[in-house]
Symmetry: C2
Subunit: 368 residues, 2 copies
């Protein structure tokens, strides 16, 4: 099975570079088309690859779910796909409607996530039993062999923590004057990459224990094309600009230099190849699919400075509040807005040399 999957994998995603067919500036489609594309992949792959005998109940987890509504759409697609699979198989067997599985869906995110809001937003017409699971997906959050289908979308670029070398003033990876790795020296990039590798190993190890043999994991992640240097990735630009703003606030005496120097954003953009390496090292999953997604063009209309500022603030707001205090945040993002206006919002919003990719992994049988 492994040899077969290795073969499939190599064919499943192109070894693209930032200047190749996946530079995307000329390759944008609407968000709706991408969502439909992902939905079609789920239906196809779950139908063909999931190897679970219909059981009651069927356990699904969405990891890094946030508060909705995206998680609810994703879960709906997963359930549609599983039902489609079992309904299709009924046509050729004697399985009856009543033998379709009942679904228990676990919505997971950090303990600090607003689960109250999530629970209040649960769709009234859902066809599943819902539960919230607090905790980091870099550790164990479910019992052994308890999940049939796992989904994790746009969450894996968050590291479990800032690499510890960056918190050590005497380390060559002390990231003075910067808030992220993308424009930093090799030592900082190396520390971020090592943290990513450690985290991804923990993620895959935990999931290998939690997912039943034959179960599937659908991962959708931000990343960068292979061969592109992190400093070139457009997806990191919005964060670099936060660094510039904070630097200015240090110069004006609003933020202390020590606070600034000790602040780093714990995100890392992996390449699809880095994920592939991690999966192979883990050894418990077969890569059924690994493909770069088409780049989304939002209705053909560029984001304005307010929208760009809102996006970055909603992503980093809590992190910044926690480190710099509540009182810093408005001032920081007022400045941020001004800077976006100056340099033009498109230079932040256009994620040049950044990509999104989708992986479908199947839990292999356990060897005895």
């Amino acid at each position: 099975m492994e040899a077969e999957n290795n073969g499939k994998t190599s064919a499943a995603y192109p070894m693209n570079s930032g200047d190749g067919p996946y530079s995307y500036a000329n390759n944008s489609i609407s968000l709706g088309v991408v969502i439909d594309h992902i939905r079609e992949i789920m239906i196809k792959d779950i139908s063909e690859k999931l190897e679970i005998t219909p059981s009651k109940p069927f356990w699904i987890a969405d990891l890094g779910c946030s508060i909705g509504p995206n998680t609810f759409s994703a879960v709906k697609n997963l359930i549609d796909s599983v039902e489609f699979k079992y309904q299709s198989s009924q046509e050729t067997t004697t399985t009856t409607q009543s033998e379709l599985p009942q679904f228990q869906v676990f919505f997971n995110d950090h303990t600090s996530n607003d689960f109250n809001m999530l629970f209040k937003s649960l769709p009234g017409d859902r066809r599943y039993y819902a539960a919230g699971v607090p905790g980091s997906f870099y550790g164990r959050i479910f019992p052994d062999a308890s999940l049939h289908l796992v989904h994790c979308s746009f969450s894996l670029h968050w590291l479990s923590q800032v690499p510890k070398e960056l918190r050590d003033k005497s380390s060559p990876a002390w990231n003075k004057g910067r808030v992220h790795y993308s424009n930093s020296g090799d030592e900082v990039i190396k520390a971020y990459k090592a943290q990513y590798e450690k985290d991804m190993a923990l993620f895959l190890k935990a999931r290998a224990q939690e997912i039943v043999c034959g179960g599937l994991m659908v991962l959708i992640s931000l990343g960068i094309p292979s061969g592109v240097h992190h400093s070139e990735a457009g997806g990191n630009r919005g964060f670099d600009l936060v660094g510039s703003c904070l630097k200015e606030m240090v110069e004006k005496g609003i933020v202390s230099e020590e606070k600034f120097d000790s602040f780093n954003i714990p995100t890392y953009l992996m390449t699809p190849q880095e994920l592939e390496t991690a999966v192979k090292e883990n050894g418990s999953f077969a890569i059924e699919r690994l493909e770069v997604l088409p780049h989304v063009k939002v209705n053909g209309v560029a984001l304005n400075s307010h929208q760009v500022t809102f996006c970055v603030r909603s992503t980093l707001g809590e992190l910044i509040k926690e480190h710099f205090g509540e009182e810093t945040i408005d001032q920081l993002f007022d400045l941020y807005f001004q800077k976006v206006e100056e340099i033009h919002p498109s230079s932040i919003a256009e994620a040049v040399k950044t990509l999104s990719f989708l992986a479908v992994l199947k839990r292999k049988p356990i060897k005895h």
Copy 2:
């Protein structure tokens, strides 16, 4: 099996009346002793009655969990009991330590419960995977046959809603000038009792579907002794006094008469016999135990007026806010405190002719 259990049941709890050995005024023990007593019962009954082959994972639900810490103590006792059972059985079989089950615990309460607070309070040294499940336990909240052990403590006196007859001005059960059934006419009491019966039937029907055969349900509830009229039950006095306060606020023009007349507290104190009847009517559970708990005397020290007011406010606060608005609540409980001072706190705090009881129910095998 049913005949055997019926036999046990009849012996397991005394047909006490309010004036009998369970009038409790002379029968108080400390809270710690009652907790130890319940813990011992759990260990004994789970050890002897639970008929589940050790499986991984083992699913436990606490229904009406609130935000802790009581739910965490209860869950710890349940897990200790299950582990004790399997460890004991290991001594006579070849089961190894690694074959002890892993526990998935579902904490359930209404969607409006503060799950964020609950998740933040989860014990760091817990030996289980935790999930929150929002929704009323009078409906289905878990898939078929997915739970091995269910616990529900001091929650079943809450009805799913105020009986609908009480919302109809033309009904003989229109509860004018009162906020609860205990001091009302027969029609109101009848409507509350009917609502209780409907709710308990729904509760048992849902659990019968959710609990695996051989699984157990431990219920601890407030109630009244058989033969005691609801107006005599001390446990209702604190609510009646809320009615007196609101009446006074109507007279002063602070609260509208219509708002007052349309407010009713949806709680009902059942007798252990009423629970027994409901379980027999449902037919899916064997009553393994049904016993009245000793009355708790809190450290031999009576509650003062502040403590009594705090207890009633924390129980009814949200309900009152929702009906009368945020602005009413402080004024209402200032008045409440004054009234408790006047009549003496012990007359509210001493739950004369009220009882707590414990039931252990086992899901019977499904007949085909």
